[in-house]
Symmetry: none
Subunit: 241 residues, 2 copies
Amino acid sequence: MLDRIRIVLSRTSHPGNIGAAARAMKTMGLTRLWLVDPCADPDGVARARSSNALDVLQGARLCATLEEALEGTVFAAAMTARQREMAPPPLWARAAAPQIVGYAAHGEVALVFGNEQAGLSNEELALCRLPVMVPTNPDYSSLNLAAAVQVMCYELRLAALDPGAPPAPENPPATLEEIRHFYAHLEAAVTQSGFLDPAHPKRLMPRLRRLFDRIALERDEVSLLRGMLKTFMKKPGDKVD
Amino acid sequence: MLDRIRIVLSRTSHPGNIGAAARAMKTMGLTRLWLVDPCADPDGVARARSSNALDVLQGARLCATLEEALEGTVFAAAMTARQREMAPPPLWARAAAPQIVGYAAHGEVALVFGNEQAGLSNEELALCRLPVMVPTNPDYSSLNLAAAVQVMCYELRLAALDPGAPPAPENPPATLEEIRHFYAHLEAAVTQSGFLDPAHPKRLMPRLRRLFDRIALERDEVSLLRGMLKTFMKKPGDKVD
């Protein structure tokens, strides 16, 4: 789906922002950049800021008008910093992303970003179906253009690809039985050391269990802890295993 | 809650990134920037890139070490681009944000970003409790530093303002300092018991730290564990406290 999303930058003033936007796109797996009447062609500054996303920058399509950049799309969303009169109510970035990705199942879609100082004109906004806002600090909403591209491409990536669980832990977890044996061992150790008074156990063992139960102990970790308890329990003169 | 979150940039190479990070923070309502041993002082480039977030840039605290930047915090999360050996399993940015904000209900917290080229060192990562990853394109994961700050501050803002965020932990968490003392106590205990051979420490303490780091120990639990260690360390004839 991400291959069908055009990032359209309209009348961008600073070449550095074009380069940084290309980099931001590529980190999130988007590659199709369209530039509408940029105030400066992508130059050395843009190339430097694009880091190794030169392919995205060099593949950018140059257009004279936003209409041209939207040709062939089935849906266009437009970034705006404020609600505009006569425009449909905006969606927050997080709510808009799945909708944009949903349309990409049907064809080409575009996400349009305006000029750094003035944003999109009302005429440009009227060419798009959905205004989108990034929630910002009401006292300082001056999101950098490439930063806005980064946030939106991040949301689009998450909407398109559920990143799923972080990499699964590599190490085998302890079985319930191994954990039961560990708790029995721990209880014996704290009883021997005098920390647990069997006549007045209070809530010592439940508190210790609550502590260790919060993590999924690995098998090797249970062995490690039990090896440690053994050394705590040995009496003077005992041999170390 | 956002007032209690320190954004810590460690050994940043490019002043422009410091300025852009300050701007990214302010757009999301975060203001507390800490700089650990930056390779260059914030200069004209930093000021230009900070746009009107000069207050954040000028209020930045300079520190010599990451330890110093983490002083007084109850929780620290660290950005990483990959899963590291011996570190706890990472959380994705979106899952980590509510957890970081939850800890901020109890005190100061930190979110740490490493150097542009090398990221955080393993030693720096070991000072933090939770590794955090931004999901990226596996073929091009070169997220710009300020762009990563932007994405994380965006997630923190949404987590802080979202009324649907999970409830903060009820019991006060241990501070990083209390946890450091616990590890020192544990190391003394296993050294005395013979479980740790100081001449051949192998990876015993890193393994134990990796285990306890995952628990997010509460303050009372650290006291409980240290009380237990005390009884393990007493010699025959010692009085019980």
